[in-house]
């Protein structure tokens, strides 16, 4: 009924009249059916486009487990584990493989955090490398960082 353009010209229910029970039930069923069908068709479209676009997207993505970045000219900066002070205190450790998407986002967050800290200090940091730290002798990276900070010559 709805898809026939000729029928659409005459509305089925007159606006100014009260409704009887059959009209109400019919309207409800038809309404729910049409809304569900329209959205179901959209689901089908999305599922199809999903498979089309996903295959198209996958071929173009390079996978990079480790990342090196040099965004701004400034003092060289420490890597992820060391405390962020004026003096660099690199703490390299073997990089753990991670999915490239997660890794990119994590790197972006780290760079943003370092930049924000640098702004507060008034210094500009340059992120040379970001490597994931594995546990050393069962002690956490934070504990290690704290130890480095405490033992740094001043």
């Amino acid at each position: 009924m709805f898809f026939n353009p000729f029928i659409l010209a005459e509305k089925v229910l007159v606006g100014t009249e009260k409704l009887n029970a059959t009209q109400i039930i019919a309207m409800t069923i038809i309404g729910l059916l049409v809304v569900f069908s329209a959205l179901l068709i959209l689901v089908i479209y999305l599922t199809i486009s999903d498979s089309i676009f996903r295959n198209a997207g996958k071929s173009g993505k390079p996978k990079k487990p480790s990342v090196e970045k040099k965004p701004a000219p400034a003092k060289p900066a420490p890597s992820k584990t060391a405390p962020v002070k004026q003096k660099p205190a690199p703490k390299p450790a073997p990089a753990a493989p991670a999915s490239s998407e997660d890794e990119d986002e994590v790197v972006a967050v780290i760079m943003a955090a370092i930049a924000a800290m640098g702004e507060a200090d008034g210094t500009q940091y340059k992120v040379r490398s970001v490597k994931q730290v594995t546990r050393n002798n069962g002690k956490s990276a934070w504990a290690q960082a704290g130890r480095v900070r405490a033992t740094q010559p001043f």
Binding site: V12, G15, T16, I24
Partner: protein
């Protein structure tokens, strides 16, 4: 000498009898006073309680302006259909300020433009990443049709029932779009009633939804953690609005103005090539149209028309509509939970009630109550934005059936 005195008394007498104060105290004027007080209530809700202030404040002020007697800002009699249409010549000749602004509402111009702005601000990627959310968006529109049943049984006319039902779509512009088309003027309910109910209950969603959500789902269902959504490529996000426009407009042509503008706005945003247009659509254009829409819709709540039981009926049915929508969404959410063997959290079904992003935030909140490490927000945004499309389709259905 007495001539001058006469002149004074006559002029002052004339001024008094023409004044609004006199009209307030004469026959029927008390109704205007009641409506003015009601407008104060809504202004209080908007300003002090923060209920959807961007719309509720213009609407309530429009209510105030229209009920000031003799001010002549709005004339309901101009908008009654004569031989099937409004006498626009008469409107242009006799109309007051709010009559002229109301033209944009009656001509169905403002709601689609607001949808344009909404499309510019909406991110459909949670929906694209999880197409099943569309079904939850559809299910929540059950609130619309079941409210139609209740309104019909209560004796409202077809047009009134349709306008009340669309409140369940939880979408202000859609509700205004439908009710201006269906309500022919001179009836007991006006667009202003519908809009008031719609925006009040949209603001009350945080109060209406959670009890229903807790009642209808078990703790186990609420703690379901959903798989992280995949990222959606830019190409998908550009093709989506185009495809939706074509598909929906072919299936339900009366929904085309709303869905078309929504998707147009979204395409502008996703394409990224029309930064100036997006900026205007999201900001200046939205704000201008919101002001005009709000104040002119508020103006339709003129006292002689709407002080009757039906106004209360609309407000009552409004909360029923929202509750039914939430319930339907939850029921379908539970069905999906069963069907996917526990992969879908039923709570996101309630986000199909398209009060964006409030309903999604509430799904997140109730989910976090059950398990604080559960982040349902992005998953709930899928049904939430699907509900916007769903309520526009439902609006199209109502408009094509009811004449």
């Amino acid at each position: 000498m007495s001539g001058v005195l006469d002149f004074f008394t006559n002029t002052l007498g004339g001024l008094w009898s023409d004044s609004g104060l006199n009209a307030l105290f004469s026959a029927g004027g008390y109704k205007n006073l009641i409506m003015i007080l009601v407008s104060f209530v809504f202004m209080y809700l908007a300003i002090a309680k923060g209920f959807e202030p961007l719309l509720l404040l213009p609407i309530s002020f429009g209510m105030l302006l229209t009920n000031l007697p003799m001010a002549g800002l709005y004339h309901p009699e101009l908008w009654v259909l004569v031989d099937g249409h409004v006498n626009y010549g008469e409107v242009l000749k006799e109309g007051g300020l709010l009559d002229i602004l109301y033209l944009g509402v009656k001509l169905q111009l403002y709601p689609p433009i607001i949808f344009l702005g909404i499309g510019c601000m909406t991110d459909f990627s949670p929906l694209i990443a999880n197409p099943k959310s569309f079904l939850l968006g559809a299910a929540a529109q059950g609130g619309i049709f079941f409210t139609f049943v209740v309104a019909g049984l209560l004796g409202f006319t077809a047009a009134e029932a349709g306008s009340i039902a669309i409140i369940g779509g939880a979408d202000g512009p859609t509700a205004i779009y439908v009710s201006t088309r269906l309500l022919t003027g001179g009836g007991a309910i006006t667009t202003g009633n519908i809009a008031l109910a719609a925006y009040t209950y949209m603001a009350l969603v945080p109060i209406i939804q959670p009890p229903i959500m807790r009642f209808m789902t078990t703790k186990k269902e609420r703690t379901v953690k959903m798989e992280q959504l995949r990222t959606v490529s830019k190409t998908e996000r550009i093709v989506f609005p185009i495809a939706v426009t074509i598909i929906v407009s072919l299936l339900v042509p009366s929904a085309a103005p709303l869905v078309g503008m929504l998707m147009f706005g979204n395409l502008l945003k996703e394409s990224g090539v029309a930064a100036r247009l997006i900026d205007t659509a999201q900001n200046a254009l939205m704000n201008i149209i919101t002001i005009f829409l709000g104040i002119s819709v508020g103006a339709t709540t003129k006292a002689d028309q709407i002080i009757n039981l039906k106004f209360g009926g609309v407000m009552l049915l409004g909360v029923i509509a929202f509750s039914l929508g939430t319930a339907c969404g939850l029921v379908f959410g539970k069905i999906m939970y069963r069907v996917t063997k526990g992969k879908v959290n039923p709570l996101i079904g309630s986000a199909g009630v398209s009060a964006v992003p409030m309903a999604a935030r509430i799904a997140q909140k109730v989910g976090a109550e059950a398990d604080p490490t559960n982040f349902l927000l992005m998953h709930a945004m899928g049904p939430n934005v699907a509900g916007v499309i769903g309520s526009a389709v439902a609006a199209g259905v109502l408009l094509s059936v009811i004449g």
